[in-house]
């Protein structure tokens, strides 16, 4: 079966999609160096910059969140492939130009972290004012924090740290906010259908006709929860309970819930799942203080979703509510 994707040369995917993005949102983003997306109107000097890096093929993540109140630079890698360290360094150098300080946000995937670390080493050797945070909130990785991958958790971190930076917070303050958000969030993914790898035309993973897998990673990395298909309500409850118990949320606490579609799973389904989450929280007397439902990071047309919960405090809520204006996320 031929791959049914609207693409041209598979080797040009990333360049073409980013070109498309800056052409579609010329008032928000521009290209700055090869496959590095920057704001169309750079932030005022004196404010902390946010930089991220990561593979492509996950649109709107990550470059779709460059914009006011969020990221300043996104270094885009290949399809499902981390950007190399030299380009990450280039992104950091742009962010730290003219003595500015910057925060690098990296999702915990081996390649991304390696490129981030190597680039950080060089950047610090050059005397640039840069600090780094790694997101690893996917509880499927087990109890060991460094085995936990970064899924959609980058999104709340971009949001609150981006808002803090926009408000003029120092690098240390931005890092503290990012770390607080990171520490207080947990995520988990479920997959039911594979995507086609856009470069190879091959399915990314195999799953039985009546199976789903809880804990699957962003690129079809196998999880540990292969089971028979369940209803929306059952799936929502299983995942929510795992997350609540891992984050040790107590009655009366206030949490944010984010449901992220993997690609082919419809918004209809995401909303039905969210409904059950809200119902269960009410029953447990846990307050649903903020929420988000949509596609923030996809894996092509994979079917499934990610569920994220986060314990919020008044400062995090205020930063979450602050305005943002990126190509694929706007808040008034």
């Amino acid at each position: 079966m031929r791959m049914k994707k609207f693409i041209n040369e598979p080797t040009n995917l990333v360049g073409e999609l980013l070109e498309g993005m800056v052409l579609a949102f010329p008032d928000k983003v521009q290209l700055s160096g090869r496959n590095i997306v920057a704001r169309a109107w750079p932030k005022e000097s004196g404010k902390v910059r946010l930089v991220t890096l990561g593979g492509s093929g996950h649109e709107p993540g990550l470059s779709g969140f460059v914009g006011e109140g969020m990221l300043d630079y996104s270094v885009a890698g290949g399809i499902f492939a981390a950007p190399g360290a030299p380009r990450c360094l280039e992104g950091i150098r742009s962010a730290c130009a003219e003595g500015a300080s910057a925060l690098l946000i990296v999702l915990n995937h081996a390649g991304d972290v390696l490129s981030g670390n190597i680039a950080m080493e060089m950047a610090l050797r050059e005397g640039l004012k840069i600090k780094m945070i790694i997101t690893h909130e996917d509880i499927a990785g087990g109890p060991n924090l460094e085995d936990r991958r970064g899924l959609v958790g980058f999104f709340p971190v971009y949001k609150v740290a981006g808002a803090a930076a926009e408000q003029g917070a120092s690098l240390d303050a931005c890092l503290e906010i990012a770390e607080r958000m990171e520490r207080n969030m947990r995520s988990l993914a479920v997959a039911v259908n594979t995507a086609t790898h856009p470069s190879t035309g091959q399915p990314i993973f195999e799953l039985g006709d009546d199976e789903m897998e809880i804990g699957m990673g962003q690129h079809g990395e196998a999880g540990t929860g292969r089971m028979k298909l369940k209803s929306a309500d059952e799936t929502a409850e299983i995942m929510l309970n795992m997350l609540l118990s891992d984050l040790q949320v107590a009655t009366g606490e206030e949490i944010l819930v984010l449901i992220n579609g993997a690609g082919a799973t419809t918004l209809m389904e995401l909303l039905i799942v969210f409904r059950r989450v809200a119902q269960v929280l009410t029953a447990k007397k846990i307050k649903l203080i903020r929420s988000a439902v949509g596609e923030f990071i996809t894996t092509q047309e994979q079917a499934g979703f990610q569920m994220l919960i986060a314990r919020m405090d008044p400062e995090l809520i205020e930063l979450w509510d602050a305005p943002a204006d990126a190509p694929f996320f706007v808040k008034r």
Partner: protein, 215 residues
């Protein structure tokens, strides 16, 4: 018997290593598909390209600059863990202190490999037994040092290293992954060699072939 290698020999070592990887990239992808995300062959193909470029573009550089250049090029690949680690290894080799900038003996080569490993150790905590490329890389580097200490020629040392890498890669079959993407699979990874360690075996097979060819 070789006691010294220069730019041309080092270049041929990398050229043959690249050729070995090109020939086997589909196998590498297949191995990475079992426990990983199935992109290792593609990444190694790109890395091979950059190894060739690195040599080409530094045909007049010092040996350490040539190594750094190859390393930097490989680091520049949009790949994954493997290109970052191999790039770090090659670039790290260039940190070695050489008496001459035009030639290295077997001891120098051993020290260069050791420097490469040291650079890697800043980036990964993985060591032998974790079912990663380290299971092939560490024994290969050790073999070169041992051969140098035993007074062997560089080409014999690389033969030893190729064999050690091969055995190291094969030994990963019985291990359970603890690093990299495959770690989440745990027991399911048993029975197949690790993709990255297989690449190391190919790399050293190429190094040794490159030197034999030159002679």
């Amino acid at each position: 018997m070789t006691d010294l290698i220069g730019r041309a020999e080092l270049g041929e070592m990398f050229a043959q290593a690249a050729a070995c990887i090109r020939r086997e990239h589909q196998h590498l992808t297949a191995l990475d598909s079992i426990g990983g995300d199935g992109d290792h062959g593609t990444t190694m193909l790109r890395a091979a390209e950059q190894m060739e470029r690195g040599i080409e573009e530094s045909s007049t550089a010092s040996l350490t600059d040539l190594l750094k250049s190859v390393g930097w090029k490989v680091l520049g690949v949009d790949g994954g863990a493997s290109s970052a680690l191999f790039g770090t290894f090659f670039a790290g080799m260039g940190d070695v202190q050489l008496f001459s900038q035009d030639a290295m003996n077997c001891h120098d080569l051993g020290r260069a490999f050791q420097a490469g490993l040291r650079a890697m150790s800043r980036q990964t905590k993985a060591g032998p037994g974790d079912k990663t490329m380290m299971d092939a890389l560490v024994p290969a580097v050790t073999a070169v040092t041992a051969a140098a200490n035993a007074g062997k020629s560089i080409s014999d040392a690389l033969d030893d290293a190729a064999l050690a890498a091969q055995l190291g890669a094969e030994s990963t079959k019985d291990l359970v992954a603890r690093h990299g993407r495959a770690r989440s699979l745990g027991e399911r990874t048993r029975g197949y060699p690790d993709a990255g360690s297989t690449s190391v075996a190919l790399l050293f097979r190429g190094f040794s072939a490159g030197l034999r060819r030159e002679l």
